[in-house]
């Protein structure tokens, strides 16, 4: 399996909330910095953070492109969060049920073997799409 194939499998597990297949992709001491600068250290921190996210929103991630160079993978991702409940403390901004938040981001994944050791995301574009508005 190539690193690109592994990355696609990782994202498929992420979209499916398939923790059993997702977590082995992370090194035990993985450091993940999301777009707003929040840094999650370790698998447990990632599970805690995203358990809250998926309790409030339905998130889908699409891989626009990815490529590998040495021990790093670059990815351009498009994510959409659909609030399935009011989420006043959502990581990006407060959301009401039915609102959507779109993010286009560039992400650098550093890996050793088959595990990601550091993941850093930078937001290129984002857009808040309140319920009832067409985009």
């Amino acid at each position: 399996m190539t690193q690109e194939d592994r990355f696609r499998a990782y994202m498929a597990a992420f979209n499916a909330h398939d923790w059993a297949n997702l977590l082995p992709h992370y090194a035990p001491d993985v450091r993940l910095t999301i777009g707003n600068g929040t840094e999650l250290v370790g698998r447990d921190a990632i599970v805690r953070f995203y358990s809250k996210v998926i309790a409030e929103t339905c998130r889908t991630i699409e891989i626009k492109q990815c490529f590998v160079d040495g021990q790093m993978l670059a990815a351009e991702l498009e994510s959409e969060f659909l609030a399935i409940a009011d989420a006043p403390d959502f990581a990006v901004r407060p959301m009401h049920k039915g609102d959507r938040f779109y993010i286009n981001s560039f992400v650098i994944y550093e890996f050793e073997g088959d595990q990601y050791t550091r993941i850093r995301s930078a937001v290129f574009r984002h857009e808040y799409r309140p319920l009832g508005q067409d985009f």
Binding site: A74, A122, F124
Partner: protein, 178 residues
């Protein structure tokens, strides 16, 4: 470029342009990819790390013909606060930035696509105001002030020139609340 010339800047407003400079920032330097400078002998292969480093070195020297050669004539340049189109427009934009501040870019991480048609670079931009810059979009700067940012910049490359440059601000990590 003089201040008077800056007033003729094509984009909607001077503020937008300055915002692009500041937000694309050093990333903008990165954002301006270098087609091989006519004045330099470049042995690096387009799309490889050494090639990008040549571009950044030219940018840091303020070698406009040098780093300008890395841009396609119709390059699309996307900053955080403005979008610029065309090599000449991008170069004018950077001349205006240089009139206000010294800008240098450091390459932290490089990820190049195997086909050498895309690069994702992590760049740190440092701006040092050469003079007071009260309308600097991210906040006023006084002469001598220093400001840094880190950006992830995606370059699309065709025929050894940047056709599209997109800069995303990377936020410094902070611990999550448990």
């Amino acid at each position: 470029m003089s201040d008077d010339q800056q007033g003729a800047w094509p984009p909607a407003s001077r503020r937008e342009v300055l915002a692009a400079a500041a937000l694309v920032g050093a990333g903008g330097a990165a954002a301006m990819a270098l087609p091989l400078p006519a004045s330099a002998s470049i042995s690096a292969v387009a799309g490889e790390r050494a090639w990008l480093e040549t571009y950044l070195e030219s940018f840091n020297r303020g070698d406009f013909p040098g780093f300008g050669a890395f841009y396609a004539p119709d390059v699309q340049f996307f900053g955080q606060a403005a979008t610029l189109s065309g090599r000449d427009t991008v170069l004018d934009f950077y001349r205006m930035v240089r009139a206000h501040a010294d800008e240098t870019v450091e390459l932290f991480s490089f990820v190049g696509a195997p086909a050498r048609d895309r690069i994702l670079a992590e760049l740190r931009t440092t701006l040092v105001a050469r003079r007071d810059w009260p309308d600097m979009p991210t906040g006023p700067m006084e002469a001598g002030d220093r400001r840094q940012s880190v950006n992830f910049v995606m370059y699309d490359i065709v025929d050894a020139r940047f056709t599209r440059v997109r800069s995303a601000r990377f936020s410094p990590p902070r611990s999550a609340h448990s």
